[in-house]
């Protein structure tokens, strides 16, 4: 059989004709399997949704309890049959609750990895390679210029800036789900024990991380903090808030941004970032290669990001490889993720010329 009979691309996203379900569809569908809670992958309005318990909880926090017709929680590692197709959720290491989805049918195994990172993260279960025939990988940082430095070294940059400018608030732009909590956990590990101030958009999700047993130390809503408390404080906010009216309450702040894109100087400068923190929740160039090899796959499909380079590398390695040219992903740390982009963009499913995000 051809793997495409088990899974192929459609305008709505990856679709399994054998199992009649979509993975991370970008538009409402009857049955969806969701890899993780970032809004470009997890959208409201599907009929039936299957995801990990934590991803379902996160979707309910973001979209309300009625985000889907019915929901089904999948345990990591368990095999569930959906219309005869075997489905398994395995840790992706991307954010809390994130999963790779493995499909097996008639002797063919395809792993749709969603977004993933093999590197250590105190807020997510570690990435576990799943042997498969076809591995579907993202390529957000799929160029050899992306080699993420050690997270502890990046947090050290923030710590030394706090020591150098004790009178200035340090605004750290970080995606509200995942990155923000990881930054908090890293700061605590580095010995930062002051209360961390939070933008309103992160409060609920941060509270949810705590219920899952992740210690993030003391946090306070930024709006409640007086001038004395703001001085020299770490303030976490969604990237969009860095350039927003919201940030003006902090006089002369140091503007930091935690993202893998900070590796590229022009990117940091384009966004007016003064303290770039190279912290990514996606695999870097070396990690992509290790992860792909670890699956033992024969074929690689690349969803979004720098697909050309990754496909080139895989072909050199003797794999069959092709890009899927999928659109609608990468809003969280993809090419569209910048301080100016909405922190949580709506579905990019409008026809050309009537883009709801930008039309006046």
């Amino acid at each position: 059989m051809r793997p495409e009979e088990l899974l192929h691309t459609t305008p709505q996203g990856l679709y399994s004709p054998a199992g009649d379900f979509f993975i991370d569809p970008t538009r409402p569908v009857a049955r969806a399997l969701i890899t993780h809670g970032h809004s470009d992958h997890a959208r409201a309005g599907h009929g039936a949704v299957m995801a990990t318990r934590q991803t379902l909880d996160i979707m309910a926090i973001r979209y309300g309890e009625a985000f889907a017709g019915t929901v089904q929680a999948a345990d990591y590692g368990a095999r569930i049959e959906v219309n005869g197709v075997g489905v398994g959720f395995h840790p992706a290491g991307h954010i809390l609750g994130s999963a790779q989805i493995a499909l097996d049918w008639r002797g063919c195994t395809i792993v749709a990895s969603g977004d993933y990172k093999p590197g250590a993260d105190p807020t997510a279960l570690p990435f576990a390679p799943v042997p498969c025939h076809v591995f579907i990988s993202e390529a957000t940082f799929g160029l050899p210029v992306f080699r993420h430095p050690a997270p502890a070294d990046e947090i050290a940059k923030l710590m030394s800036s706090l020591a150098l400018f004790p009178e200035r608030a340090h605004l750290v732009g970080a995606y509200a789900l995942g990155k923000a909590q990881r930054v908090m956990a890293l700061l605590r590990a580095a010995g930062h024990d002051r209360p961390i101030l939070l933008h309103g958009a992160m409060e609920k999700l941060t509270a949810y991380y705590r219920t899952q047993g992740i210690d993030l130390g003391e946090t306070r809503p930024a709006r409640d903090a007086g001038p004395a408390e703001r001085a020299g404080a770490v303030v976490l906010c969604p990237p969009g808030a860095l350039a927003d009216v919201w940030s003006r309450r902090f006089p002369d702040p140091v503007t930091a941004f935690a993202s893998g894109w900070m590796r590229i100087r022009a990117r940091a400068r384009q966004n007016g970032v003064e303290l770039p923190l190279i912290l990514s929740d996606h695999a870097d160039w070396d990690e992509l290669q290790v992860a792909i090899r670890a699956t033992g796959c024969e074929e690689l499909w690349v969803t979004h990001g720098q697909e050309d380079a990754l496909v080139h590398w895989a072909t050199q390695e003797g794999l069959r490889a092709r890009p899927l040219h999928m659109v609608g992903y990468g809003e969280e740390e993809g090419e569209g993720a910048t301080p100016d982009a909405p922190a949580d963009a709506p579905a990019p499913d409008a026809p050309a010329g009537v883009n709801p995000e930008v039309a006046p």
């Binding site: 160029l143 050899p144 210029v145 992306f146 080699r147 590796r263 590229i264 100087r265 022009a266 990117r267 940091a268 400068r269 384009q270 966004n271 007016g272 970032v273 003064e274 303290l275 770039p276 720098q306 050309d308 380079a309 080139h312 590398w313 050199q316 659109v327 609608g328 090419e335 569209g336 910048t338 100016d340 982009a341 990019p348 026809p351 050309a352 010329g353 009537v354 883009n355 995000e357 930008v358 039309a359 006046p360």
Partner: protein, 568 residues
């Protein structure tokens, strides 16, 4: 080298002028001689490594990485040094050794032969981390581009003590790296360095763009108007040295000595003083367009043929120093009178003439002159006029860009609504975003009919927020890929309309549309407008007819921050 690399890295991100000055001053304060002096030389552009060419760097990375991956990475990053710094496969273990000092690097690169270069550079790249590699490559290729001007670096030297930045400028021309005596003086524990240059640079005075709304508030009687010439701002300083012989220097507006590029002009000057004016090419007493001037710029060697074909002149509009007397504290009218006297006494073949005043009784009258310089005194030179300058009659010559005394009032640009057709990733500041846009208009008899033909390409005019919107549009609406170029959807009902502003149009055989735009830029994004309502080619062709009395040829740019016009 570590400290200096860290400084460059910080500077690359610091947007505030004062922040940059503090960072540099802090580095100078905590770094000993001569290391800090070499750093100052690097920041002021006083270092040059003749052997380090981008070609060698490409060769070294090419020997170590896959060419396809390098090409994709370079396309993405948009900067050779940074791409190589990030991709360089450094061997493990070597980073434990102490990286070399900046002084040692400068010494090595100044004295080594061409043959030794690849081995020395490789060894250094192996021993440095990513930031160090980036700084080294920037340094030896002479392209720091970290938003630090020579003036800013000198201001940071001034900040070490209580001298004014202009005081540093005045002693600067007589100094050489590593500037130990300058730092000693700046820090208050050494004598003032003797300047040996009798014709140093004086910081120039700049103007603000005039908005239509500003005009109402200004009194026409308080201002003088001049043509704004489309050339290069130049300061000609000429004075006798200690041996009695005259020294002539031509400076750019940033104080760069460009005398070497215009020896014919420097030799023809015969005054004693400092003249502020516009460098222009004159043929048969007629000013040539910037396009012509451009052909003389940025040449490595100035041949006799080049000097003959492109004779450089100065059209003077201010006098800062007259026979040793500093006029900068005098009002414009007084300086103007002295300038007119100096010009009339100057030899006629001396390639120096006077930029005339444009008389105007009212703002309306000046607006008319600005719209049609040919009929208001500029005559045959009108095509080199890009607007008018307004200077208060009582304005002193103040360095920098003070708001109020001087205004520039450019000619109104043309604009059309065009449809985005192709996009390519930018370089430099815009790298990794789709920021180079090719746009087209309809060939049919009505909008939306016929086909779209490209009429130009623009890289700027949009805000950073708009760049992100267009970038997203491009990525989501790609219909074809040609290497680095993406074709985006452009049908009568689907696509993005952009309002393109430009300075002029010319016939061009290089483009299928037969037209080339001068200085096109994106004025507005028209998300509201369907592509079928964009402009037609015929509309543009009529514009060429309209301005046939003042044909403005496409000019590109070097040193003037202008975009090459209509390059496909």
């Amino acid at each position: 080298m570590n400290r200096f690399a860290a400084l460059l890295d910080r500077l690359a991100y610091e947007p505030r002028r004062n922040g940059k000055i503090r960072l540099i001053a802090d580095y100078f304060r905590h770094t000993p001689d001569p290391e800090r002096g070499w750093a100052l030389a690097a920041l002021t552009g006083a270092l040059s490594f003749r052997n380090a060419k981008p070609g060698l760097i490409r060769q070294l990375i090419g020997e170590r990485t896959d060419p396809v991956l390098f090409a994709l990475s370079y396309d993405y990053v948009g900067d050779l040094s940074e791409t190589v710094a990030l991709m360089w496969p450094a061997p493990h273990g070597l980073n434990d050794t102490e990286p070399p000092s900046l002084e040692a690097i400068v010494h090595a690169f100044t004295h080594m032969g061409r043959a030794e270069m690849p081995a020395v550079l490789t060894s250094l790249l192996d021993r440095l981390d990513e930031t160090g590699r980036w700084a080294l490559l920037k340094l030896i290729t002479g392209g720091l581009r970290i938003g630090v001007s020579a003036r800013l670096a000198k201001t940071a030297v001034a900040a070490l003590g209580d001298h004014a930045p202009d005081a540093i400028e005045l002693v600067w021309p007589g100094l050489a790296p590593p500037y130990a005596e300058l730092f000693a003086w700046a820090e208050g524990h050494g004598p003032k360095p003797e300047t040996e240059d009798p014709a140093p640079f004086r910081p120039v005075m700049l103007s603000h763009p005039l908005e239509e709304a500003d005009v109402e508030k200004l009194d026409p009687a308080a201002f003088r108007a001049e043509w704004k010439w489309d050339g290069i701002r130049v300061q000609a300083a000429r004075a006798a040295g200690p041996d009695g012989r005259h020294v002539t220097r031509l400076y750019s507006r940033t104080g760069e000595d460009i005398s070497g590029a215009f020896p014919d002009l420097a030799e023809a000057l015969a005054f004693d003083g400092v003249v502020d004016g516009e460098l222009l090419i004159l043929r048969e007493e007629r000013v040539q367009s910037f396009n012509v001037l451009q052909q003389r710029l940025n040449r490595k060697t100035v041949s006799a043929k080049l000097m003959l074909e492109f004779p450089a002149h100065i059209r003077a509009y201010d006098l800062l120093v007259d026979e040793g007397e500093d006029l900068r504290e005098q009002p414009f009218d007084a300086r103007r009178a002295r300038l007119e006297a100096l010009i009339s006494a100057h030899p006629a073949e001396g390639r120096l003439d006077l930029s005339p005043l444009v008389p105007f009784p009212s703002w309306d009258a000046l607006a008319q002159a600005r719209a049609d310089p040919a009929a208001h005194g500029a005559g045959a030179d009108a095509e080199a006029v890009e607007g008018v300058m307004l200077k208060r009659a009582d304005s002193l010559y103040l360095p920098g860009r003070p708001k109020g005394p001087w205004w520039k009032w450019k000619r109104d640009p043309h604009s059309v609504d065009a449809v985005l057709m192709y996009a390519q990733r930018g370089h430099g500041k815009r790298s990794s975003y789709y920021s180079d846009y090719t746009f087209g208009v309809w060939t049919g008899e009505t909008s939306g009919t016929g086909e779209l033909v490209p009429v130009g390409k623009a890289y700027f005019g949009f805000t950073d927020a708009e760049l992100i919107e267009i970038d997203r549009f491009v990525r989501r609406h790609t219909v074809n890929r040609f290497g680095p170029v993406r074709e985006v959807v452009h049908t009568p009902t689907e696509g993005l309309v952009v309002e393109v502003a430009f300075e002029g149009l010319a016939r061009s055989t290089r483009h299928r549309s037969g037209l080339a735009m001068r200085f096109p830029r994106i004025a507005r994004l028209r998300w509201d407008k369907p592509p079928g309502e964009a402009d037609r080619l015929e509309t543009l062709e009529k514009m060429i007819g309209d301005e046939s009395h003042a044909p403005r040829t496409p000019a590109a740019v070097l040193g003037k921050q202008r975009s090459p016009a209509g390059e496909m």
